[in-house]
């Protein structure tokens, strides 16, 4: 049953003269008071937006929505993205008029409820990370990385040290080196060893008085906790550098290990992952950062401060050593509120249970998958693991991408493939704590079936989706990035 309401574009559905939104009539006295604008400033006609009735719009987008896989509808084991269940209560609470309708430039005395929540969130994030200084301002994980690299720049500049280099692990998210570069650093890569952990010897050989920061992810992108983490952070500190922890994998260690305790000086959270904000098709997220006390003065402004004398929460931008502002207004408050609600739903012991179940689920799935695909790095993991389809590719010509595409037909979102780069034909699986044993069993069974299937069936997959294997190369060679009448 072909539904043209979703295969057509809004612009193709447009019907001249059709209207959805009608405004109230302008009061004649208002109109009378208005003077015409100079002709060279005004347009002859408004932009050529599509013309639709409300029913067109509703049907179009409702049908479009059914073409997405989502956490509400499917298991989404996309490694490193932590696609856990998004509690519905958080949406209702974040939409309360006293939160959703607050203007960002209102005076502090009119938003004490809002500031109290955010101030408390600062404390909670500090407690979970073991790092006392908090900025809620960064708008995404990568934005937090950038802010932290700027903090490091400011810190070393104040100390009068010239340290132009940032080290990043070769298994790190690509945002790490990109963020360091944007903050004005040169980057150098530290290798992984055969176990997929930081190659300590390689790190030591690169540590010197030129290195400002070592950025690492722990647990790393293979889902492994670095067993030498303390030795690593000690070595960086001994060389006068700072350690930055990419908090993408915090979901694995809530109440189990704290970055501040294992030697990180700075970190960011991805609250949309760890504390379950809906990812919304790729955003919004947020990227609050936590830092050690001696870095706190450099954090972006404003931060929230409690003033005991006035018994009031205040936005504090009187911070002379601050790197300044990195985003307009306060930050992605809506996402931060959801993180706050999430943490309040669990409390300290509950959060540890979250991570324990995430680790249990991943190890359970690993115990099943290792009989289906080669898992190069051990038979234990934290909250995610990376398998390799390289043997399957050699023997049957089935790549990680083929596997990913075919698994879609079984009603599962695909794992992350080809990341991290340190594993050949990588298949990165993260089940999260919000999937049942039955779901994990069904996923493993589907994966097994796929590996038993014939190459042709798999190369043509997926078979059940509206489109199959879009031509990326053609899209990049001859980019079409907007609809025009003749295309």
């Amino acid at each position: 049953m072909r539904n043209t309401q979703s295969t057509q574009l809004l612009f193709e559905l447009s019907h001249p003269g059709r209207r959805a939104a009608l405004l109230p009539k302008l009061d004649p006295e208002i109109a009378a008071a208005s003077e015409p604008l100079p002709a060279h400033q005004t347009n002859d006609a408004p932009p050529p937006l599509p013309e639709l009735a409300e029913g067109d719009v509703v049907r179009h987008f409702t049908n479009l929505s059914t073409l997405n896989m989502s956490v509400d509808t499917h298991f989404y084991p996309l490694g490193s993205c932590t696609m856990k269940y998004n509690p519905k209560r958080n949406e209702r609470l974040a939409s309360l008029p006293g939160l959703a309708d607050v203007h960002p430039l209102q005076p502090a005395e009119t938003i004490q409820g809002m500031l109290a929540i955010l101030y408390e969130l600062q404390h909670m994030l500090a407690e979970i990370s073991g790092l006392p200084g908090v900025s809620l301002q960064p708008a995404a994980g990568a934005h937090g990385e950038l802010a932290a690299m700027m903090v490091a720049q400011a810190y070393f500049a104040k100390k009068g040290e010239n340290r132009p280099i940032v080290l990043t692990a070769d298994s790190a998210h690509g945002t790490n080196p990109a963020s360091a570069a944007m903050a004005g650093f040169q980057t150098k890569t530290v290798k992984s060893n055969a176990d997929g952990l930081v190659d300590f010897e390689d790190l030591k050989s690169k540590l010197n008085d030129q290195v400002a920061v070592f950025m690492l992810t722990n647990p790393n992108t293979l889902g492994l906790f670095d067993h030498q983490i303390r030795e690593i952070t000690d070595a960086v500190h001994a060389a006068g550098g700072l350690v930055y922890a990419d908090g993408a994998n915090m979901n694995a260690i809530l109440g189990i290990s704290r970055p501040g305790d294992f030697g990180a000086d700075m970190m960011h959270y991805n609250p949309h992952k760890t504390f379950s904000g809906p990812h919304g098709g790729g955003g919004p997220g947020a990227g609050p950062i936590c830092v050690r006390d001696f870095l706190e003065p450099y954090l972006p402004s404003p931060t929230i401060r409690y003033d005991a004398e006035q018994d009031m929460y205040l936005l504090d931008d009187d911070r002379p050593d601050s790197i300044g502002r990195i985003r307009s207004f306060f930050g992605n408050t809506g996402v931060l509120l959801r993180a706050y609600f999430y943490i309040r739903s669990y409390g300290g012991e509950g959060l540890r249970q979250v991570s324990e179940d995430a680790v249990l689920g991943a190890n359970y799935l690993l115990s099943k998958v290792k009989h289906i695909l080669h898992v190069p790095h051990g038979d234990r993991c934290m909250h995610e693991f990376v398998a390799s389809a390289s043997k399957l590719k050699k023997e049957k010509g089935i790549s990680a991408m083929d596997l990913a595409k075919r698994i879609l037909d079984f009603g599962f979102h695909a794992p992350t493939v080809y990341f991290p780069l340190v594993v050949d034909e990588a298949v990165m699986v993260e089940p999260t704590e919000t999937e049942s044993k039955e779901t994990l069993d069904a996923f493993a069974a589907a994966l097994f079936r796929v590996t038993e299937e014939s190459g042709d069936l798999i190369h043509d997959a997926p078979h059940s989706t509206r489109v199959s294997r879009p031509n990326d190369v053609a899209a990049a060679r001859n980019p079409i990035m907007r609809w025009t009448k003749d295309k």
Partner: protein, 455 residues
């Protein structure tokens, strides 16, 4: 609470793994010297009912555009959000999906992104749009960074004091580590950037202006564009997406890159975020455009479809040589903007812009007619204007007006010490004549009764 496993499940799973306990799993990974042995000191867990009660209490302590009549702007606006926007955007299939790495099962998001990008090109009069950035401020800064990378060998950025002060603050932060010079041209007596051409030279990589500017005033964009281009630099224009219902589009006046805060397109105020950073540019700049882009292609069956494209610019491939470190986009807010613009259509956008324009002009006249107030910047305004209180303190005035039920405006002294007796009033299509007239009556009454103390 949101967990699935019963103790029985846990035991069965452990057995299958071949582990005694979850602790054993954890200890096999996390060395003793990196373990946290205590319990996190967090407030106790709350049931849904308890939390609702507590959060409602906190929310009730806030004034808001729901409890007060909002005349605040300065980059965040109380525009009307049609019910359809919430109804569709809250569908779990949109809400709880992720970045469309698997195009086959993300056609809903990808097509909506493609539609969003098309709508942005229609709003800006430029060739290509990305799938959104964090917010209007980040978009402005990313555009400047993009221009710096395109215009080789130049490291000077010229902007205007009439550009959103917070955008300029972000710009300062970003440029500090990069050995770039930031020059801020002052606004003139009419609150516009008419003198900015004097600051543009052959060292200038780009010029960043805002039109309508932070004071609501219209800039002579075409003239600034000509001066910018004559110096071999690029023009970045921050604009109000509602304004192009009536005003000329950035691309039609010579802007090379257009950026905007898209919050007003169907998104709530949310105390500043999440917001929607809009960015569009000319075709020749596309390989430097930061952020995600959805593009059209065909699948193996020949069906038209959509994918993320030009990804070689991005951090997951180019790493430290990427055009930007941004790896997310505000898809959900972009979707809301897409739905909003589909509902408005050209006529709806024009009418919305007309309402903003005319109501602002009406209110400006009413306020200026009050004895104690004046409008320091003469000339046309869109949606916002500066008002000067000749003998009052702005903070007191705003506080007293709040007592009458108004979020009265945004004081300017925090950014412009010379305008400490001034504040900014924004009037969207949501404001009625009755609200505007009542506001002016309150203002008049408060001042005549001496409720607002003189400075």
């Amino acid at each position: 609470m949101y967990l699935f496993h019963t103790d029985e499940d846990r035991q069965a799973m452990l057995k299958s793994i071949g582990a005694e306990s979850v602790d054993e799993l954890i200890h096999s990974q996390v060395p003793e010297n990196a373990r946290f042995e205590g319990t996190l000191q967090l407030p106790p867990a709350l049931s849904e009912m308890e939390m609702q009660r507590e959060v409602e209490r906190a929310a009730a302590q806030n004034a808001s555009a729901a409890s007060h009549v909002c005349f605040m702007g300065g980059g965040a606006y109380d525009h009307f959000v049609p019910a359809t926007v919430d109804a569709i955007a809250s569908r779990g299939e949109f809400f709880t999906s992720y970045t469309p790495y698997q195009a086959e099962v993300s056609q809903g998001n990808l097509q909506a992104m493609f539609e969003y990008e098309t709508l942005v090109t229609q709003l800006t009069g430029l060739d290509v749009s990305n799938a959104s950035l964090y917010d209007g401020g980040s978009a402005a800064v990313e555009a400047v960074m993009m221009a710096l990378s395109v215009v080789k060998g130049r490291n000077k950025v010229v902007t205007s004091a009439a550009v959103h002060p917070e955008y300029r603050q972000i710009l300062e932060t970003y440029l500090r580590g990069l050995q770039c010079e930031l020059v801020v041209a002052p606004y003139d007596a009419s609150g516009t950037s008419s003198g900015i051409a004097d600051y543009i030279d052959d060292k200038t990589a780009c010029v960043l202006i805002q039109h309508p500017n932070f004071f609501g005033r219209l800039e002579e964009v075409q003239q600034i564009a000509d001066a910018t281009h004559a110096a071999g630099a690029l023009l970045v224009q921050s604009f109000d997406p509602i304004s192009v219902g009536r005003l000329k589009r950035p691309g039609d006046m010579g802007a090379d890159i257009a950026v905007a805060e898209g919050q007003g397109l169907g998104n709530p105020l949310n105390f500043g975020g999440p917001y929607l950073g809009i960015m569009a540019c000319r075709n020749e700049l596309v390989r430097r455009l930061p952020g995600r882009i959805a593009g059209q292609t065909v699948d193996r069956r020949g069906n038209r479809c959509w994918v993320l494209t030009l990804q070689t610019r991005e951090q997951h491939i180019r790493r430290e040589r990427a055009t930007s470190n941004i790896c997310s986009n505000q898809t959900l807010l972009a979707l809301r903007a897409t739905i909003y613009l589909s509902l408005l259509g050209p006529e709806g956008l024009k009418e919305t812009a007309e309402h903003c324009l005319q109501k602002t002009q009406y209110m400006q006249k009413q306020v200026a007619s009050l004895e104690r107030f004046s409008v320091p910047f003469a000339g046309p305004v869109f949606k916002e204007f500066v008002v000067k209180d000749h003998d009052g303190s702005v903070a007191n005035l705003i506080e007293s007006m709040r007592g009458d039920g108004y979020l009265a405006g945004v004081p300017l002294g925090q950014w412009y010490p010379e305008l400490s007796d001034c504040y900014l009033i924004a009037v969207t299509e949501r404001r009625t004549r009755d609200e505007i007239d009542s506001y002016c009556r309150s203002l008049s009454q408060l001042t005549s009764e001496g409720v607002i103390a003189g400075a």
